[in-house]
Symmetry: C3
Subunit: 156 residues, 3 copies
């Protein structure tokens, strides 16, 4: 593939989402306009809260996670409106409405929400975690400005 | 990123996969030729069938889900042959062959299947659901027409 | 979408990761420079080892999986440095450090790791499997050569 056009890669660094010295992953990579992120959690705020006897619920954790994702997208030069997809992993499927409430609070002012998938998983990387979110963002698209909506061509 | 080329975003609407009024997600977004979808399930057909005492099995649910994904891709101007990746979440891993049967029925006439990942999860958003599928489609690729296949350069 | 630019699709074949005759998925598709892969596991080595009474642990399985992914990317004309994202599914979340150890061994010499998400799931497709990895690669990006890192514009 020696003649392939080369897309520059930037590693996105951000005070709000520090790179851990021994991490074996990148928090976020910008491949040209496309942002590839690692799954984000509310750790270490969740651990501190649990130690203080005031464990964070799913709504609070989801808000923290979405703000971390926002911080990474902003560090790359974009904003919330560049987030096009979320995959939400929860440890208790009953928490889905709390996730929805946080998602509405963060994205509700836009004409379109990101696409989103929500799955109940067996475990996340720390026991206090109730939600982890895997996001995709594109700096070249803006969910505040939609093109015309096509109707369904082949209804079933 | 003020000089970034802008890729138009279309929200894909489709009678077969209605947008719920209070949804905090988009069913499907077209970013230029790329289709980003939310995870699809056979709800509400699964709920109706369960209430009628005839719960839908994984094979039937998978067919319904793949037809919903097809309807969304067609609403965007494409077809089944534009679907390049599936992530299949099942609540019982023993159902993997039922998923394969449905996948073969839907995609088997093409020279290539989409890539596919299948995972056993703890829970999906409604108790009757046995399968959810997260799909990626590209309107600019067509799995009915493949280029030459390279051999393995570095077999291990 | 009749005027869309057409991106050629190659089905990636590789002796190290054979296409099973009755598979209802493609192991890997190259869509222009983008590589879409099916989730990879250490099967059938895991089954053979289990039958021999020497089941493979998560560290060993992760290495085998990453080498399979590498073989597919190399068959497409690239290398490890083209892998931009991993989604790691483990059956026991306690194994996360074993995954990290293998990831460090494979990618540690590069200036940047792929982004990575790690989730504890209920089950994988064979009982001996402890880890499955879903990877995304891009032949047009190279993690050995990073552009400058922007600082966080909006710390929170």
């Amino acid at each position: 593939m020696s003649n392939a056009a080369v897309t520059p890669v930037r590693r996105i660094a951000c005070a709000a989402v520090p790179d851990l010295p021994h991490a074996s992953w990148s928090n976020a990579l910008a491949l040209g306009p496309e942002l590839v992120l690692s799954g984000q959690t509310a750790h270490p705020a969740t651990a501190a809260a649990a130690q203080a006897g005031a464990a964070l619920g799913t709504y609070e954790q989801t808000l923290l996670v979405l703000r971390k994702i926002q911080a990474l997208v902003e560090a790359a030069g974009g904003g919330l409106y560049n987030i096009v997809k979320l995959v939400v992993y929860v440890t208790d499927i009953a928490d889905k409405d709390e996730v929805g409430r946080a998602r509405r609070e963060v994205f509700g002012a836009q004409p379109a929400y990101p696409a989103s998938t929500l799955i109940g998983v067996n475990a996340l990387v720390f026991p206090e975690l109730r939600v982890e979110i895997d996001a995709i963002a594109r700096l070249d698209v803006d969910l505040r400005h939609l093109s015309e909506v096509p109707s369904c061509l082949h209804p079933r």
